[in-house]
């Protein structure tokens, strides 16, 4: 089985936000929920870089550890998913996540939180693959159709890579070797306790 990861090559990202838009549209994510976002570092200064960030599907994920109802599970491809039927919207995964990935729709009185929503790596949830229930709760399940996450698939500069860890790391290493510089695999050290030597 593969070890699926995201890798954002910040030296290629042009902050077009197409990944964000693609994600919102593909999964019909409600207003105010951002499963993916583009953060610009050193904005307007020398060395400015933009990084597209979503759930990194951590190894030994902290969200899963702190969840009081144990609603998280990791797939055979190392994608971290959660069960919205079990989630109580307590917010603990947000406290523990280094990437700000968990999102909460405002559903009821006094702006209280609904069930957590986050990037599924386009892998849906515990419902039957491709079912209406899965689409309603978690969005499209592209992985079950043999496709990779849409954000990475339609990235205009191929900055955002998705796929097996070894393959995307190899692509990134080749890029860095060819152009002579690289800002690093953003978030890898924090998410996987390993990074790509460049």
């Amino acid at each position: 089985m593969a070890r699926l990861k995201f890798l954002c090559d910040a030296d290629r990202c042009i902050e077009c936000n197409a990944c964000v838009t693609a994600c919102k549209n593909e999964h019909e994510v409600p207003w105010g929920i951002n499963r993916r976002r583009v953060v610009t570092l050193n904005d307007g200064k020398p060395g400015e870089r933009s990084v597209s960030m979503a759930c990194m599907h951590c190894t030994d994920a902290p969200c899963a550890s702190v969840c009081p109802v144990s609603c998280f599970y990791t797939t055979a491809d190392a994608v971290v998913l959660h069960n919205k039927d079990l989630c109580i919207g307590c917010g603990y995964c947000f406290y523990a996540c280094p990437f700000g990935a968990p999102q909460y729709p405002k559903t009821s009185n006094f702006g209280s939180r609904g069930k957590m929503d986050k990037c599924t790596y386009c892998a849906g949830g515990p419902e039957e693959d491709g079912s209406q229930a899965e689409l309603d709760k978690y969005g499209r399940n592209r992985l079950a159709e043999g496709k990779l996450p849409l954000c990475a698939e339609m990235c205009s500069t191929k900055a955002l890579l998705a796929g097996d860890s070894d393959i995307i790391a190899q692509i990134y290493k080749e890029r860095v070797a060819k152009r002579g510089y690289g800002s690093g695999a953003w978030g890898w050290q924090v998410a996987y306790k390993e990074t790509i030597a460049i």
Partner: protein, 335 residues
């Protein structure tokens, strides 16, 4: 001749070096803004951060907090999953163990002079309402709150994932709404009882005698509240305020940064278990631990002999103030 030559050479060399420097200066400046040849590195940015700071930038979406790219705080997981359950288990089981030992050694604390036929009003309706408002809301909060820490270890295997999630969801709602009743209870507790809970020299003597708890027949004097009760009062007030403030923050976790949320979650959990342990002790001494103590918050009227033993100065003050008019019982003075 040689000195002339060397002087000329030196001047030429100086001009050459100066010329090179002035030529290279713009090139150097340009190098630092070259957008492709240099890139900001994750490791460099992390090194530049102060502890607890997030690696942050600008986002074009309205949620500005999403600008935090990578946030610190993986330590909180260790606190939440290891330290807090330890604090909770040690505090709660420790207090229960101590109380069991205390009960086995000391037994139920009886009224030494035996029950009297007379009763004295200790807590009126308002006092008892405030006590039970705070007490019942605290119990509901303690149970539903402890569920967040211990539920998945203790209840989830019994109820199953769906059953436990349904209970936890209900418990979260109870916790979020009953919290407001508790805040009102704590505020009223402070208002009605603060004047009787100021520390005094009487308390020092009370503590020196260990409250008379350890030896039979020992009853250090006390006013309306003894030293131990004052500790409970101030713990409830200070602990209650800390719980209220941190609880407000936890109602809106995404409204601020992750480090603030983690701070409030840490405070909330730790203070909660310490308060729970203290309240278990309070419940014990107010019920099975001491004969006649429950009446104070039950009917509000306590046995006169109990009151004389445990709150001697208060009884004297009450009797002088009311000249015995509030003392009811079999023997009513003829009018």
């Amino acid at each position: 001749m040689t000195s002339m030559l060397s002087k000329w050479l030196r001047t030429g060399l100086f001009a050459l070096v100066f010329g090179l420097f002035s030529l290279s200066a713009p090139a150097f400046a340009q190098g630092s803004v070259n957008p492709t040849a240099q890139s900001v590195k994750e490791t460099q940015l992390f090194q530049a951060l102060k502890p607890g700071e997030a690696l942050a930038g600008r986002v074009s979406i309205p949620n500005k907090a999403a600008g935090n790219l990578i946030q610190p705080g993986r330590d909180w997981r260790a606190y939440n999953q290891e330290t807090l359950p330890k604090i909770g288990a040690i505090a709660i089981l420790g207090v229960i163990a101590l109380l069991v030992v205390f009960y086995l050694v000391r037994g139920k604390i009886r009224i030494d002079a035996g029950p009297s036929t007379m009763k004295i009003l200790r807590f009126g309706a308002i006092d008892r309402f405030v006590h039970w408002l705070t007490a019942l809301s605290f119990l509901m909060l303690a149970i539903t709150g402890a569920n967040v820490t211990f539920g998945k270890k203790i209840l989830a295997p019994i109820l199953g994932p769906e059953g436990f999630a349904a209970w936890a969801s209900f418990a979260k709602l109870i916790h979020n709404y009953v919290g407001f009743a508790f805040m009102v209870g704590v505020a009223l507790t402070f208002i009605i009882w603060v004047k009787d809970n100021m520390p005094s020299a009487v308390d020092a003597k009370w503590f020196a005698a260990a409250g008379g708890l350890l030896s039979k027949g020992s009853h250090p004097p006390a006013r309306r509240f003894n030293g131990g009760q004052k500790i409970v009062f101030w713990s409830v007030v200070i602990g209650g305020v800390l719980m209220s403030i941190s609880g407000w923050h936890l109602l809106f976790p995404t409204a601020e940064g992750i480090s603030e949320a983690q701070f409030h979650a840490t405070l909330h959990g730790t203070v909660a278990f310490l308060m729970t342990a203290l309240i278990i002790g309070h419940i014990y001494i107010g019920s099975v631990g001491m004969e006649g103590a429950f009446d104070a918050m039950g009917s509000g009227e306590v046995d006169l002999n109990w009151a004389k033993e445990h709150h001697s100065l208060w009884v004297k003050e009450e009797q002088e103030r009311k000249s015995g008019s509030r003392i009811s019982g079999a023997a009513q003075p003829a009018e």
